[in-house]
């Protein structure tokens, strides 16, 4: 009962954040704008700037948090994040190459930077898989190590490109890696991102029982009838592609994917039937809240949201750990 109440509270919180966030900003907008009761200029800002940004923020936060939760369960490792397998380094390298080459194009109304980043993410997934399979049939440790090795390799490549590039381009690369939502305008990005996040979240939610069993141990999960290898492969690939898509649009926004699942675990327990929806709602609402703060706290200048997620989430997490961690 308690967990049902908590889930409902989280859903309400998410709703309030998603509806409230677009009204806040350098130009404050009355609530009535949501149903057209405001000046035309305000309505335009609401629907072409604020709403798309909030929607993409929610999709990105929810997707990163849920992917982090799934990776933590599959690796049985509390430190796993959506970026553990190197997806974000691959995407960042793709974006860095694009910036270094001085390209400027867009295709299917999606900026070239995102295409390069997404290609980098997909290549990384393929490489990490290839390495892990070639080594020892994709055991957990091999995959983690392959991911870490690939991450470091790509990070060095990015540094190398930064060293080669001029100041402006280097700055753009550094800025890209901080992650942010300020470039989102109009409905295009939502439509691009939605299918990836929808598919990724649907797969993770579908495998909620399997994730529960795998956290109790892979051998035990097999004994209970889970096709562990198949579940791991499907979840890893679909979640990684989702993360790749998110990172390609927003950059590698950190912390949400690591901490949102842990915060929800402390609130609602380890059962993925409740943990997964809670993580999705919390991750989405948290990123939207952080982004709202990021664009208002030192207005008219905007902070990259990736800086705020850790600044706000870190202390909150420590507080939860101290007050609830010891509870039965």
């Amino acid at each position: 009962m308690r967990s049902a109440t908590l889930l409902l509270a989280l859903a309400l919180l998410a709703l309030v954040v998603v509806c409230g966030a677009p009204l806040v900003g350098s130009e404050s907008i009355p609530l009535g704008a949501l149903w057209g009761d405001a000046e035309p200029g305000q309505i335009k800002i609401l629907w072409t700037l604020r709403m798309p940004r909030v929607a993409v923020g929610f999709l990105a936060g929810a997707g990163l948090a849920l992917a982090g939760m799934a990776f933590q369960a599959l690796f049985r490792n509390a430190l796993a994040t959506p970026f553990t397998l190197g997806v974000s380094s691959g995407a960042s390298l793709g974006a860095a190459i694009y910036i270094h080459l001085g390209l400027a194009f867009s295709f299917l109304r999606i900026p070239g930077e995102s295409w390069f980043a997404f290609t980098g993410a997909l290549l990384t997934i393929a490489v990490v898989y290839g390495l892990a399979r070639a080594a020892a049939g994709a055991s957990n440790v091999t995959m983690l190590l392959a991911g870490v090795a690939v991450s470091f390799f790509f990070s060095s490549m990015i540094l190398f490109l930064q060293y080669l590039s001029d100041l402006t381009r280097t700055f753009r690369m550094v800025r890209w890696v901080m992650g942010g939502l300020e470039s989102i305008v109009g409905v295009d990005t939502i439509l691009t991102l939605f299918p990836f996040v929808f598919a990724g979240c649907a797969v993770v939610l579908y495998f909620r029982h399997e994730l529960n069993l795998i956290t109790t141990g892979e051998e035990l999960a097999v004994a209970r009838g889970v096709e562990v290898d198949r579940v791991k492969l499907v979840v890893f690939v679909v979640a990684s592609i989702m993360v790749g898509a998110i990172v390609s649009v927003c950059g590698p926004i950190g912390f949400v994917g690591l901490m949102a699942p842990h915060i929800c675990r402390l609130l609602i327990g380890p059962d993925h039937r409740k943990l997964a929806p809670a993580t999705l709602l919390f991750g989405g609402a948290f990123l939207v809240a952080c982004d709202t703060l990021a664009r208002t706290v030192i207005a008219p200048t905007e902070l990259p949201v990736g800086i705020l997620t850790a600044l706000l989430g870190g202390p909150f997490f420590v507080w939860l750990l101290l007050t609830r961690g010891g509870e039965e």
Binding site: N212, T216, A223, R224, G225, V226, G269, P270
Partner: protein
């Protein structure tokens, strides 16, 4: 009582290797419905590997393993889990699920993908928790319980799974006397009253001889003994299996002798 006419498990000429190391060689034996079979043998003999091959935690190997006369490969894992369950040693890392949540997860092979856990599942879980005498812990977290309590919970979850064959890996090895007795009684009870077939790997040959209908001994991956408890309890047979000396004495309550611990310096090859 076991019915030799209907084997639940047939293993024929089964060999299994990990890398280039052959762990099991030409293993052949079968297990009758309702039988209580203990597998004994020295460390590294392949006992645990054999259990894991039977439950397809390890895949591959040559030869044949059949469950209810059907080859293992023809089963989907979920279907296999309705017949067999591997019960690991209750050590190692556990996630902080509650006892009830954990036992409920045993119902997995009976759920279809979109159905949530139903009335029937909850009823089964309450029954097995009562049976394993773990109802008082139902809302405790797994990581706050002792090894003995956890072992009972693992067995309860396997029973919730509806498995007719339990494959237990050293169910009592690291437990104190009271918990050993409780696990033993629980296994004997489900074997006797529900006809659950028990295949248990153990190091305790004394207990194996008293609890089981039959004993299989493995050494270096081969079956070196397959017979009645009374027949393994002979000094020369045990010495061949374990490559050390044994002192057997009469049991005050039964006919089968037991292994007595020897004084320091008396044992030797």
């Amino acid at each position: 009582m076991p019915d030799p006419q209907s084997p639940v498990l047939e293993i024929a000429n089964f060999s299994f290797r990990i890398g280039t190391k052959e762990i099991l060689r030409d293993v052949t034996f079968s297990v009758a419905k309702g039988e209580y079979l203990s597998i004994v043998g020295p460390n590294g003999a392949g006992k645990t590997t054999l259990l894991k091959c039977i439950d397809r935690i390890h895949r591959g190997g040559s030869g044949r393993i059949a469950v209810y006369g059907r080859p293992l490969e023809s089963y989907r894992q979920r279907e296999l889990a309705r017949h067999l369950s591997y019960v690991p040693q209750a050590d190692g890392r556990v996630f902080p699920f509650t006892v009830e949540q954990f036992v409920l997860m045993g119902r997995y092979p009976h759920l279809n993908a979109f159905s949530s856990i139903g009335h029937e599942d909850r009823k089964t879980v309450l029954e097995v928790m009562e049976r394993a005498a773990i109802t008082p812990f139902a809302h405790r977290r797994l990581d706050t319980l002792s090894g003995g309590e956890r072992q009972k919970i693992y067995i309860a979850a396997a029973l919730a799974q509806g498995a007719e064959v339990l494959l237990l890996d050293e169910p009592t090895t690291f437990l104190d006397y009271r918990h050993q007795a409780e696990i033993r009684d629980l296994l004997a009870e489900v074997n006797r009253n529900s006809g659950v077939t028990i295949v248990a790997v153990t190091h305790d040959v004394n207990r194996a001889a008293m609890d089981s209908h039959r004993i299989v001994a493995l050494s270096a991956g081969r079956v070196v003994f397959d017979g009645a408890p009374a027949d393994i309890m002979q000094a020369d047979t045990l010495e061949q299996i374990y490559e050390t000396s044994f002192l057997l004495v009469g049991h005050p309550q039964g006919d089968v002798p037991i292994i007595a611990p020897q004084l320091p310096g008396e044992a030797g090859p």
